[in-house]
Assembly symmetry: C3
Homo-oligomer: 437 residues x 3
């Protein structure tokens, strides 16, 4: 269901036999066991739990990169946003994203309200359990929201942030993703985004950027023209989070093959795993070497973000590149991170964890890199998708942030920010016994 256009356009060779098998079986009235149905479903389940695990990765990464006075709040936001995404995507998101024949505005706006029902008999026409697809797709929706929480950390109020998550996961993400993966206008226009460099990562980045601009930087972050470092409180957690994300990404990209029940698809998933790993490694090594060369000291947080940028970069097209292709695409992701993190600071855009360089900028890069290896992909169509999704998500997110700011305020008080969100908003500390240096 995801990436209908892609299936139709470039992966038909692989998908058709699978679907064919499923239909034959259905016709043959022997529903007991269909190899492709079971294996495709299993891919969604494994891919889904790996991407679910990325929620923990974001939580650890962000908890490690904020100061200790804001850690408990960052953790709360991460658990809450994942939970909200789970509910909203069921309630309205999934039917907006995959309207089938029930578009409200064909190609642009899906089926507006139809909470997703899971407990039916297996639908053999799909070639996989629809419940497994729901489970898998939900995790992508949640990932989009996870990206936002890191950028806005340490100063945004809990409840306005969570209301934004409601809108993002219930409406914004499903609409723009439907344009491509639901068979909407972008997929007709020849856009290619295999696992979501634009639809998930850049989208999350645009929503974060809109929020960061409206929210403003943390108190004390920029003094005159200097950027004051505010080091993360726990780099072990941040590294753990990165490894979790790296692991989860095999599900993110590999599961987006959408099929495992044929030799060709199993081979494709394998290629995707290998390429995904290579891009991450290349991003990390590039950031390591670059920070050594530029600053004479390697920078662990840059290395972590380099790996993540490598992963985001390969996500738009993890199947077609050679391993050398994955290497250089991921390496450029690492370069982007090292150069754009300080650039954002120059612009006084305060992105606490570096999510905008990693997810938005490397996401754009990854989307633009697709035509180098994927037959039929064009830079024009890629740019169209990047711009369309960018404008839509940035503008709608900006409007939502503005409304929230007007109605209830989105920023904690100066006093609360200085004392830390944990005591101010939660009344508890993440590390109550470790005294502050």
């Amino acid at each position: 269901m995801k990436k209908l256009s892609l299936l139709a356009a470039s992966a038909a060779l692989i998908a058709l036999p699978t679907l064919g098998l499923a239909q034959e079986t259905a016709e043959a009235a022997e529903p007991a066991t269909d190899f492709a149905f079971v294996l495709n479903t299993l891919l969604f389940l494994i891919g889904g739990f790996l991407v679910m695990w990325m929620a923990a990765g974001f939580a650890m990464l962000e908890a490690g990169l904020v100061r200790s006075k804001n850690v408990a709040m960052q953790l709360t936001k991460n658990v809450a946003l994942f939970s909200i995404a789970a509910i909203m995507y069921w309630l309205i998101g999934y039917s907006i994203m995959y309207p089938g024949d029930s578009w409200a505005i064909p190609g642009y706006l899906g089926n507006l309200f139809s909470p997703y029902a899971i407990n039916g008999d297996p639908d053999l026409d799909t070639g996989y359990s629809v419940a497994s697809d729901f489970f898998f797709q939900l995790m992508f929706c949640a990932t989009t929201a996870s990206i936002v929480s890191g950028t806005l950390a340490e100063r945004i109020k809990l409840w306005p942030f969570l209301i934004f998550v409601v809108v993002l996961t219930g409406i914004i993400y499903p609409i723009e993703a439907s344009w491509q993966w639901g068979g909407g206008w972008l997929s007709e226009a020849g856009f290619n985004d295999f696992a979501g460099s634009t639809l998930v990562h850049a989208a999350g980045g645009w929503a974060a950027l809109a929020g960061a601009l409206i929210l403003g930087p943390r108190i004390g972050k920029y003094k005159e023209n200097r950027t004051i470092p505010m080091p993360g409180s726990n780099l072990a957690l941040a590294t753990l989070g990165t490894f979790i994300l790296w692991l989860g990404w095999f599900g993110f990209n590999g599961g987006s093959e959408l099929a495992l029940g044929a030799n060709g698809s199993a081979n494709n998933v394998s290629i995707i795993f290998a390429n995904t790993n290579m891009a991450a490694a290349a991003g990390a090594v590039t950031a390591l070497i670059l920070t050594q060369v530029l600053y004479k000291k390697p920078d662990l947080t840059m290395v972590l973000n380099g790996a993540l940028a490598g992963l985001v970069s390969i996500t738009a097209g993890p199947l077609d590149p050679t391993m050398f292709g994955a290497l250089w695409i991921g390496a450029i992701g690492g370069v982007i991170v090292v150069f754009t993190v300080p650039m954002l600071d120059k612009l006084k855009i305060d992105d606490v964890v570096g999510a905008i360089p990693v997810h938005l900028l490397a996401g754009i890069w990854g989307t633009l890199a697709v035509p180098f290896y994927t037959e039929g992909a064009t830079f024009g169509a890629q740019l169209l998708g990047i711009i369309a999704v960018g404008i839509f998500v940035f503008v709608v997110s900006g409007v939502v942030w503005f409304i929230l700011k007007a109605i209830m305020g989105i920023r904690v008080s100066e006093e609360d920010e200085i004392n830390g969100l944990d005591m101010a908003e939660l009344g508890m500390e993440a590390y109550p016994e470790f005294s502050k240096g």
Copy 2:
């Protein structure tokens, strides 16, 4: 083998074709490849490693919720209890739980001593590798013990606790679980517990409750009628532990379908994944909103326990509810946690991590909720199972705790408790360099 009654009663449509295939193949003397055998086995392996991972989840959750002076001991207990469970379940547990035709007392007491042998040829009559089933079932036994360690943290002695684990994992759990999953009297009585809300979670909770009553609260926890907060030392770890448990639960509930080698079972596993995730999300969101409303501040530990309570609640019947069903069943789990954690404190029952509300009370709730969606399940039979397992585990655990108390003492000295178990019992600290605030 697990949930024989369930298979016979309500899931026959799915299970029979699978078993049929396995038998046909066996008869046909073409043993090379049997689709259902391999896929069912794979489900047990994936489910098993996911549930094994829950041991790490409990360790992190508990290490994060105790004070730093007791962290190393809590970690030691968690590694040790998992290891002991692995040995005891092999030595006597598995044959007690699944006696087949070798009950010592039919329906009530299994095959008393028969260390489990794994290295035979594949037994095609079962429809899966018996070694994979052993691996999977072992993890449920270990989970039961993990539940106990959190409640009794910060004051119980290491060795008496571990001796209790020997009895719990070798005898108590296997006996009560055999009543249902081994084909014993409860399964005959129409009890329904798909993945163990009662048989695993409430059972662990009852054992913990018996221990907590006999052990008494921590020094200084209750002064006159006030409860003194003793905040956990590392909420990042506690959150990580919760995410690990959430992830592992897909294996816990999904693997309990016991089959993946047919369209119907693959579809069922998918439904279970989606429902399990929804219940967790609903429990978390409910606890978030409730603590905001009740206390004007959300409470991260309540949110985490809310998610876990949602998971426990859906565990007795994760297949049959609609997603809306999973939502409200999980949400009530969250309500239970928010209201019963303070209630236990009123009763001066000191449950360090909230395991009794999460596992015992939400476990009872989840078991009672089964008849709302599962055809053939009755409140009477559910109550019977809850009460029978409750009395058995609580009484036997209580006797064991009493004997341990009489023979060797179960509580550390007052001085040791105040100084922390880490230095007193282990002579090492979890965080030796982080000075205490």
Copy 3:
């Protein structure tokens, strides 16, 4: 491809039907779906992502066992070494290790330079996707490097260490592993090492030992004849790392069955999972009891290393032992750790995390234990393999360390070591806010 000899020698019964099926399908010109091809590939993918996760386990274990002033550097090394392994194994390692018919020196030295190409059509003759095999085998190469970083922590310079990793993962490991798993001379000699007790763990241990001898102990570690304890800064992380490794080991050993697409292989993977878990449990319990008996206090780090030593011990032969066999083989691993950790200190070999006892000594033990259960394995052949791999890795590693020492120095300055590598080499701290006790 891995363990060609093993497949040919002892597992032919299982492997042959699988390969047979694959070939039949290929011949029959019906390439759409081949059960064994897809399932074998899936085993490599699942096994591969589980072993990839071990990289996070090593990172957390080591970060937890070094002092806080060196944590960020230890994390950097772990992310970097995994990334370098990913690149080097692709660039030259894989073709050296699996030369097929293109040996430079037949049986001894593989195909010297042939970056691995992944994106071809599925090759049905192999019985699995070659890309999935690459992904899986890469993770073993990276594991070898992970072992080294722990031993040399807290005093080795970043860049010389990473250059060593380049050589280890690109050349040293692939060469010695090709002797057995690439079909080289050791496999002809009747050596047995199912998943790498010698080829991975002991090899990593030998490389670490060579480095430790040349690098020397940390300042202040040995005063006269006393060993000064330098406790790890975060035992919660160390425990998490151990659980991650335990989980990942199911992929390490289970995936090394190399096939899942037949009843026999599915059964074998299940047996391996059960045995692997038992050996870990036995190692942990043994270390727990032994440290209680010897020192009157259990020792958490010994328990963790005991579990890991149990895992290493069973790795050379996880399929053939009974569960009781796995128990005593793993338990002896635990004994080895408890007795040899202090012995290394007596020899003033400073192994920060205990990697030499765990990976080298338990690896040798595990390799020697194979003939107790595996038909056809002989102590002579096992010794031959242990000695050959040991001499090769130790000597070549020693030469590389010496060259690095001569050219650029491998040890930080005394001042940097005392101040901690984090500030000296990275200019950042892992826990900047937690003041030191």
